[in-house]
């Protein structure tokens, strides 16, 4: 097959190597989201119609989840979470168009996003709770728990990134292979399922980010 699994178009710049096809798909995703947002927010009406209605549905559902999990201080992080969800949803679906591949089918993209979330969680935790209390909470409830807590902190970016990467890459490869084996019927069914999987995986990534971020916000009671 002319499309080798796992091979990327490379670009060399300033001594570093980039996956040019992943970068171009990422830029395309960004362009789609920006155009979508501009279309939805011009001529804002009290009674939403069209693009505005659709975007309000998405933002409303996510804000509900944020309020439920992060409490009242969560609204400050809402733009990050909503942008993350929109990028992942559009990015995952883009690979289903024949001839294109998702930016999230490259481990670099998903690992970058997962590391961003984990680093933000740690930095916000130290900023909001103070460094002493934040480090101390690794040793609660008993001191030996520090090993478990550190392993959990290492596992978070790994599972976050590999879950998304595995789902999207395996879906795309299966689409290619089914297209070669049983054309027209089975790939259509798998394509429909992959649309669903793309949205679900974006939602799972976002929900887990909300859950991790909620740990780093200051608690009122103590």
């Amino acid at each position: 097959m002319e499309h080798e699994i796992g091979s990327h178009q490379l670009a060399h710049f300033a001594g570093l190597t980039f996956h040019l096809d992943t970068l171009m798909m990422t830029w395309l995703t960004m362009a789609i989201i920006i155009v979508f947002a501009v279309l939805a927010t011009r001529n804002l009406k009290i009674k939403p119609q069209g693009w505005q209605n659709f975007l309000e549905m998405v933002v409303g559902a996510l804000l509900e989840q944020i309020d439920a999990n992060m409490g009242p201080r969560g609204r400050k992080l809402a733009p990050l979470v909503i942008t993350l969800f929109l990028f992942l949803a559009v990015g995952n679906e883009l690979g289903l168009i024949p001839g294109m591949k998702s930016p999230t089918s490259d481990l670099n993209t998903t690992l970058g996003l997962a590391l961003m979330i984990v680093i933000i969680v740690h930095i916000l935790g130290i900023m909001n709770k103070g460094p002493v209390r934040y480090i101390k909470h690794f040793f609660e409830p008993y001191v030996p728990f520090v090993i478990i807590n550190i392993i959990e902190e290492l596992a978070k970016p790994i599972t976050l990134s590999f879950r998304l990467f595995g789902n999207i890459l395996a879906g795309e490869i299966l689409l290619l292979i089914l297209g070669m084996l049983v054309p027209y019927v089975v790939p259509t069914a798998w394509l429909a399922f992959s649309v669903f999987v793309g949205i679900v995986q974006a939602f799972i990534f976002t929900m887990l980010s909300i859950s991790y971020l909620s740990n780093s916000l200051a608690d009122d009671h103590h």
Partner: protein, 83 residues
Amino acid sequence: MEHAIIIAASVIGAGLAIGLAAIGAGIGDGAVTAKAIEGMARQPEAKGTILVNMLISVGLIESIPIIAAVIAIVLVFANPFAK
């Protein structure tokens, strides 16, 4: 000769990996979905919340089987041991 053994072992390994992953994913997802549907039957008003939590749990449970599927795909198509 060694190349043939490497290829054959990789293919058998890939088949085992994806087969066991399918069993694990099937049992795990089945257990979660059964309990979720039972909960929905008891309390139809909570259908939305239970459905959302069920989808999240299925996504989390399936993460390791998906990684096993990626390993199987890598072994078959982009084998680092062959050549």
